[in-house]
C-alpha cells in the first residue's frame, strides 16, 4: 500500500520534472522559461519529497518519524525559498534589460540576445 502510494507520487513528480525541463528548453524567452522553472520545480520536488517521506515511514519507529519531520522541514524550506529565488532571478533579468517576448514583435525575441 505504502509502496504503491510512493510509486504514484514519485512518478507524478518525475513527469512534472520532465514537463518543466521541456518547458525550459522550448519556451521562447527568459521570462516564460522562468514560469516553467519556478513553478514546476516546487510542485514536483514537493511531490517527490512527500513520497520519500511516506516511504521512510515504512518501518514505523521514532527515528523514521524524525526523518519524516525533517523531510517536511525541507519541503517548507523549498516552499519559501524557491519562489523567492525565482523572483530574484526574474528581477535581475528585468533590471538588466531583458525584453519580454511578445506576440506582435517576434523578431525582437530572445534570439537576438545571444549576440
Amino acid at each position: 500500500m505504502i509502496d504503491l502510494l510512493t510509486i504514484l507520487l514519485l512518478s507524478i513528480g518525475l513527469f512534472s520534472f520532465f514537463s518543466t525541463t521541456i518547458g525550459i528548453l522550448r519556451f521562447p524567452d527568459f521570462y516564460s522559461r522562468m514560469h516553467a522553472a519556478g513553478k514546476g520545480d516546487v510542485f514536483s520536488s514537493l511531490l517527490i519529497l512527500v513520497g520519500l517521506g511516506i516511504y521512510s515511514l515504512h518501518h514505523f519507529t521514532g527515528a523514521s518519524i524524525l526523518v519524516f519531520l525533517k523531510i517536511v522541514a525541507i519541503s517548507v524550506f523549498i516552499f519559501l525559498a524557491s519562489p523567492t529565488a525565482t523572483h530574484a532571478i526574474v528581477d535581475a533579468g528585468y533590471e538588466s534589460g531583458v525584453k519580454p517576448w511578445t506576440k506582435d514583435k517576434q523578431e525582437e525575441g530572445s534570439d537576438d540576445l545571444a549576440t
Partner: protein
C-alpha cells in the same frame, strides 16, 4: 556505487568542466562552476563519502561561488588572454600538459581498484579504525574521530592555514579611509540597487533557522556527517545572507571588523589551547583522554569525545569568522562600504 548513476553524473561533470574553461565570460564561468560543484557533491555522495560530500556542498557549491561572484562583481567579467599570440608558446604549453597528463594516466594503472579489500590502506589502517574507534572514543562517526582525534595535528594546521588565508586577504585588500586610495585598473561603475522587500523578509525569517542548523551540524558531527568545518561555513553563509539581502552596514553592525578578526584568533586559540591544557595535565599535545581530570562526570573515553567537540567548536568559530571576513573584504574591495 551504482554504476548507471556514476556514469551519468560523471558525464555531466565533464561537460560542466569543459563549459567552464571554454566560456569567455568570467561571471558565466563562476555560475557554471557552481553547477560543477553541485554535481561533484552528488558524485561524492553516490560513492558513499558522505562527509566529503557535505564539505563540497557547503564550501564548493555554496560559499566559493558567492566569493567568485563577489570577486567578479568588483573586477571585470572579461577574459584577458590577448597576450598569448605566439603559437610556439601555446605548443610548448600543450606539450607539457599532455606529457604530465599522460604520466598521471599511466600511473593510474598502479592504483588499487575502487574499494579493493586487499589494498594496503584497507588491510592495515582501515580495520584498526573500524574496530577500535567506538571503544576508544565513543564516537560513531569514524571520519570525525580520525580528523579531530587520531590526526588532530593535521586538522589544527588546516585551521591555521584557513586563518592565514583570511589574514592574507585582509592584508592585501583592506584599506582604511586615510590611506592611499588605489583605484583598480578598470574602474567599476556600480549603480544603486533598490531595496527588495521580498528577499529581505524571507532572508530575515530564514537566517535564525540557518544558524541553528549550522550549530546542529557542528554539535552532531559525532553522530552524523558534518563537523566544525561544515558548521562554520554554514554559519558564515548565514551572515553573508544578511549582508546580501540588506547591506554591508547591517552585517558590520552585528559583527564588527574587530570582533570578526578577534573571533578568527579565538577559534585557532581554542584549538591550540585544548592541546596545551592536555600538555599541562601531563599528557601529549592534543591527547584529550587526560581531560577527564578537569571535566566533571567523564571517564577517559568520554573525555576524548568531549575534547573533539571542543576543538570542533574552535574550528567552527575560526572558519565562520574567516568566511565572513573574506566576503566583506572581497565584495567591498576592502573599503567595507557596499557589497553585492
Amino acid at each position: 556505487m551504482i554504476w548507471q548513476l556514476d556514469l551519468l553524473i560523471l558525464s555531466l561533470i565533464v561537460l560542466c568542466a569543459l563549459a567552464t574553461i571554454s566560456v569567455k565570460d568570467l561571471f558565466s564561468a563562476a555560475i557554471i562552476f557552481g553547477a560543477y560543484s553541485f554535481l561533484m557533491c552528488l558524485l561524492w555522495t553516490e560513492m558513499g563519502a558522505v562527509d566529503v560530500a557535505f564539505t563540497e556542498a557547503s564550501v564548493g557549491a555554496g560559499v566559493s561561488t558567492v566569493l567568485f561572484v563577489a570577486a567578479v562583481f568588483r573586477t571585470t567579467r572579461k577574459v584577458k588572454d590577448r597576450g598569448v599570440k605566439r603559437y610556439w608558446t601555446k605548443g610548448v604549453g600543450l606539450l607539457a600538459a599532455t606529457s604530465v597528463g599522460g604520466v598521471l594516466i599511466a600511473a593510474v594503472g598502479d592504483f588499487p581498484g575502487f574499494a579493493d579489500p586487499l589494498s594496503p590502506a584497507s588491510t592495515h589502517l582501515s580495520p584498526y579504525f573500524i574496530t577500535n574507534t567506538l571503544t576508544d572514543t565513543a564516537v560513531p562517526n569514524i571520519v570525525t574521530s580520525v580528523l579531530a582525534d587520531y590526526r588532530g595535528y593535521d586538522t589544527m594546521f588546516e585551521t591555521a592555514v584557513i586563518f592565514a588565508a583570511g589574514l592574507a586577504v585582509i592584508a592585501i585588500l583592506r584599506r582604511s579611509k586615510t590611506g592611499v586610495q588605489h583605484e583598480s585598473r578598470e574602474k567599476v561603475i556600480l549603480s544603486e540597487g533598490y531595496e527588495d522587500t521580498i528577499i529581505r523578509l524571507v532572508a530575515r525569517k530564514m537566517v535564525p533557522f540557518m544558524q541553528l542548523f549550522a550549530l546542529y551540524v557542528l554539535a552532531h558531527g559525532h553522530h552524523s556527517p558534518g563537523g566544525g568545518f561544515q558548521g562554520g561555513v554554514i554559519l558564515g553563509a548565514s551572515f553573508i545572507l544578511i549582508a546580501i539581502s540588506y547591506d554591508m552596514k547591517m552585517l558590520l553592525g552585528r559583527m564588527s571588523e574587530k570582533w570578526n578578526v578577534l573571533l578568527g584568533n579565538i577559534g585557532v586559540l581554542v584549538y591550540a589551547g585544548i592541546g596545551f591544557v592536555c600538555l599541562l595535565l601531563g599528557a601529549n599535545f592534543l591527547d584529550y583522554s587526560i581531560l577527564h581530570r578537569i571535566l566533571p562526570a567523564t571517564d577517559e573515553i568520554m573525555a576524548r569525545s568531549h575534547g573533539m567537540l571542543g576543538i570542533e567548536t574552535g574550528v567552527a568559530i575560526a572558519v565562520s569568522a574567516i568566511v565572513v571576513s573574506l566576503y566583506v573584504n572581497i565584495a567591498s574591495q576592502g573599503k567595507h562600504d557596499k557589497g553585492l
